[in-house]
Structure formats: structure tokens, C-alpha cells
């Protein structure tokens, strides 16, 4: 992945179930995006 165009389209629920648009996170500031395999 060299740019986050595809990711920016995606919405995911947060821990409270509310949908968040991924692209909104990196609109203003740099983001360290960590994918973890599971919550355990």
C-alpha cells in the first residue's frame, strides 16, 4: 500500500459501535495505523 485511497473509503465501527470514517483520521494529522490480529 503506497497511498491510503482505498482505506479512506472505508468506515468501521469503534468499540462503542459507532461508525467512523478512516479517511477522516488522516485528514488533519499523520496517523500511525496499527493492524492487530485480534483483541486478546
Amino acid at each position: 500500500m503506497r497511498n491510503a485511497n482505498r482505506l479512506s473509503e472505508i468506515e468501521l465501527p469503534d468499540a462503542s459501535g459507532k461508525a467512523q470514517s478512516l479517511g477522516a483520521y488522516w485528514q488533519q494529522q499523520p496517523i500511525v495505523l496499527v493492524f492487530i490480529r485480534h483483541f486478546g
Binding site: 468499540a15 499523520p30 496517523i31 500511525v32 495505523l33 496499527v34 493492524f35 490480529r37
Partner: protein, 460 residues
């Protein structure tokens, strides 16, 4: 170690964590780690796949995998059982405003995680090109080559699931690290099996995907499912029956005003008895040969207009057993055998792919054929129930079967080839048995036959 997150924030950045598994696990996780950064849940792996991450590699069989990446950021570790998908890799990206990715790290093995300092350095460096990727595992490629040498001479022994795992050791990770936004891909028979997985993967990479299916409802269901799974809204169902020349002409007329960058001839059938289409053609002949030929011809101008167009024929390893046979392709004289009809038309596809490559040489279009190995698809199950019963434990998944289709459609380096035959991302020979070699005149005759049988009724 809370200060590591503070170090990220001190650089004007924020940490965002995406995990799969249910929201209540995420909440517990957040509380355990006292995290106050955004924590998102991705049970369908939409973001995961949109980030170009893939599952199912053999070397990550080890179940003890990575939230060590996070452990490096936060102290404290709660050794609980594994929840969620153990096949999934971890990864870290630094994404700058505007969407540029300036750092990435994809973990490969259990406990493999990026140094936090490298992440901080990437934040300090500002907008630059990617600084670090995952470790280049040379030993993995060597192992893959060695195992391939051992297995491939026995031809079919590599068609199964193990063959895929061995071959995939040599795959280059960055081959599918591409953004297909703005590319339009047409796939026949895209509502199930290899066609579906191809459409899903190309949608994941950002392409606009057109599902050409004979059944509108099934096409719509598949399109909805792919949209939901990928978050890519550009997935369009389109009705077309590849075995019906009129249906192809009508669909091509609807498709012609739009660009075509990728055309995948995937739709296939393996009937028990000789069935005739509305055009008086035996079904496998119509579906695998005459229909795809006509569709390619009707979309030829579109393919030439694209700056990088690719036509892909999904053939079958079964074609190795047959020679190109033009004697009675329509099965009016022989006792019908669906398996032979299938293999003969799959052989014809390989020849047609080569002929189209020749015909389009000098244009922007490349044409290649491939075979997916033995994949566990709905059509194998219904058409070859005995084969399926005996082999089901060693069959590839449809996604593994689709891998080389996706590679041919998406990988920049795949367009160096035209008129070639592929299996597991490698060029392969098209004959193993000497008697299967076709004559030059038969190759020409096949083209003429396609032109004749695919002609407009008025032209004929």
C-alpha cells in the same frame, strides 16, 4: 511505556488501532491497555484487505502472533486465549494527510514487530517515500524454489493446496501492492468460485468491477456482498450469458461506451449431457470458446483505447490431456463426454489466447491464459462430485485458485508477457504430452471457426 504513545502525539500524530473480533473484545482490550486512542473493529477484514494485507500464508501457521507490535507501544500483556483469526498478519502504517503512506511494516512471523523508533523516525521525517517495508525473506524464496523443483515434475502433484503453498513461498509481496483506482475490470461468471474471488480481490485493490453473469439476481447478490466486504462501491452487476451470442452482443453494446482495462474470461460449464445453446452450439464450445471470442472481438476497440489492457483466459489443467481437436467440436458425431468436451475447449482457450495475443501485438493489450489448479468451487462440486469427494481435503480454496488471475490482472510486471500460459504466477509450458501438440493449420482453422460461428446471423 505509555510515553511511547505520547511520543507519537508529541509529533502531532495519533495512533489508530484496527483489530478484528467483536466490539466487546475491543472495549475490554482498550480498558486493559488503558488506551485512549481510536480503536476500530474490522471483523470482515475490509480495512485489512484494503491495506493490501492478505491471509493464508504457510509461514504464519504459528498461532502466537502479533499484537507484540502493540506490546512495544504499551506495557502490560494479558495472556489470554486466541480470539479471532489466527491466520491474519499484523501491520503498521504511517499515513500522512492526503493519504500518502510513508512507512509500512507487515509482520511475517510470530513476534515479528517493527521497532517503535523506526515509526517515530518516519513521523519525524515528514512526507517522504516509504522508508521501510517488511523483511525480505530470501530464505523463503529459496525454499519455495527448491520445493517447486521437487514437486513440479510430477505436474499434477502441484495442482493441489500444498502446491499453492509451495509456489506462494516465491511470490513477491509487492506484486499486488497496487492501486487499481480508475481501472475497469470485466469478469464473466463472477457470481461464484474463482470469478467471485477475482472480483473481490480486484475490488479490494480499488478497481471498478463489472460482474458479467447470466443470472441477474445472483449477480446483484454477489455485487452487494463484494461491496459490503470491500467497502468499494464500484461493483456493478451486468446480465450476460456467455453461451448466448445475442446476449453477448446486447451486453457488449451496453459496455462499449465505457473503458475496458481488464477482461477475464472465467465463466465455465461442465455438463453431463450434450446441451445445445440457442445458437445451435454445444454448451462448452459456446461458453469457453465462441462466446469469449466474440466478446473479445466486440470489445477490441475498448481494449486498444486503454493504455494498459489485459485479457485473461481462465483455462484448466485438464487441457494438458487433450490436443486441439477441430474434428467434431460441436459433438454431433461422437458420443458425448462432458469431461472431454471440457478439456478440449479448455485446450482451445489456450490456443485462442495465443492467437489473440498475436492479433493484438503492437497495441496496449496483452493476452494471457492460466490454470488455477484444483480449486474447491461450486462447479467442481456439482460437475465432478466423485472427484470432489476424493480430493476435497487437498483442493485449493477459490481464492487460491483466483490468485494468478488477480496477479495477471493487477501486477505491473505481469504485463511484460503476452501469449503466455501461467500457473501460480509463473509461466508454464502448454504441453507435457507430445501427442497434444497442435498443427499450425489447426490453429488458423480455430480462429476461422470462431469468426464463422460468432458472426452476426446476417453476416453468416
Amino acid at each position: 511505556m505509555r510515553d511511547r504513545i505520547e511520543e507519537i502525539r508529541a509529533r502531532g500524530a495519533e495512533l489508530v488501532i484496527v483489530g478484528n473480533g467483536a466490539a466487546n473484545f475491543a472495549a475490554a482490550f482498550r480498558d486493559d491497555f488503558e488506551l485512549d486512542c481510536p480503536l476500530l473493529v474490522d471483523p470482515e477484514l475490509r480495512a485489512y484487505r484494503a491495506a493490501g494485507l492478505r491471509r493464508g500464508r504457510i509461514e504464519i501457521l504459528s498461532p502466537a502472533l502479533p499484537f507484540q507490535a502493540l506490546r512495544a507501544l504499551r506495557s502490560g500483556f494479558r495472556p489470554t486465549g486466541v480470539r479471532g483469526d489466527v491466520w491474519q498478519l499484523g501491520a503498521v502504517f504511517v499515513i500522512r494527510p492526503g493519504g500518502e503512506v510513508t512507512y509500512r511494516y507487515v509482520s511475517r512471523d510470530a513476534g515479528d514487530h517493527p521497532p517503535v523508533d523506526a515509526i517515530l523516525a518516519a513521523l519525524d521525517a515528514g512526507p517522504e517515500r516509504i522508508r521501510e517495508t517488511s523483511r525480505q525473506p530470501a530464505h523463503r524464496v529459496l525454499l519455495g524454489r527448491a520445493l517447486s523443483c521437487a514437486v513440479d515434475p510430477f505436474i499434477v502433484s502441484s495442482f493441489d493446496r500444498t502446491g499453492f503453498h509451495i509456489h506462494s513461498l516465491t511470490f513477491r509481496d509487492d506484486d499486488l501492492d497496487v492501486d487499481l483506482s480508475g481501472r475497469r475490470c470485466l469478469i464473466t461468471g463472477a457470481n461464484s468460485g474463482i470469478g467471485y474471488e477475482t472480483a473481490l480481490a480486484l475490488a479490494d485493490l480499488g478497481a471498478e468491477v463489472v460482474l458479467l453473469c447470466r443470472n441477474r439476481e445472483r449477480a446483484e447478490r454477489a455485487a452487494n456482498q463484494i461491496r459490503a466486504q470491500t467497502g468499494n462501491p464500484r461493483v456493478l452487476p451486468e446480465r450476460m450469458d456467455v453461451s448466448d451470442l445475442g446476449s453477448i452482443r446486447a451486453a457488449a453494446a451496453r459496455l462499449a461506451p465505457h473503458p475496458v482495462d481488464v477482461l477475464v474470461h472465467n465463466a465455465g460449464v461442465l455438463p453431463d449431457e450434450r446441451l445445445e445453446t440457442v445458437d445451435g452450439l454445444e454448451t462448452t464450445l459456446a461458453t469457453h470458446v465462441i462466446g469469449p471470442f466474440l466478446l473479445t472481438r466486440l470489445l477490441r476497440a475498448n481494449l486498444e483505447r486503454s493504455s494498459d489492457s489485459r485479457v485473461i483466459w481462465v483455462s484448466s489443467g485438464g487441457m494438458y490431456t487433450r490436443r486441439l481437436n477441430l474434428e467434431d467440436l460441436n459433438w454431433t458425431e461422437r458420443d458425448y463426454d462432458g469431461v472431454i468436451a471440457y478439456a478440449e475447449t479448455k485446450r482451445a482457450q489456450v490456443v485462442l489466447s495465443e492467437l489473440w495475443a498475436e492479433d493484438l501485438r503492437g497495441t496496449s493489450a496483452v493476452v494471457n491464459a492460466m490454470h488455477p489448479g484444483w480449486a474447491d468451487t461450486p462447479s467442481v462440486k456439482s460437475s465432478l462430485p466423485r472427484f470432489h469427494r476424493v480430493t476435497s481435503r487437498i483442493l485449493r480454496t477459490p481464492a487460491e485458485g483466483a490468485d494468478t488471475v488477480v496477479w495477471l490482472a493487477a501486477c505491473p510486471r505481469a504485463r511484460e508477457h503476452t501469449g503466455r500460459f501461467f500457473f501460480d504466477r509463473e509461466e508454464r509450458r502448454t504441453h507435457f504430452l507430445p501427442f497434444t501438440r497442435e498443427l499450425e493449420e489447426d490453429r488458423r482453422a480455430l480462429w476461422e471457426l470462431c469468426e464463422r460461428l460468432g458472426a452476426e446471423p446476417a453476416e453468416a
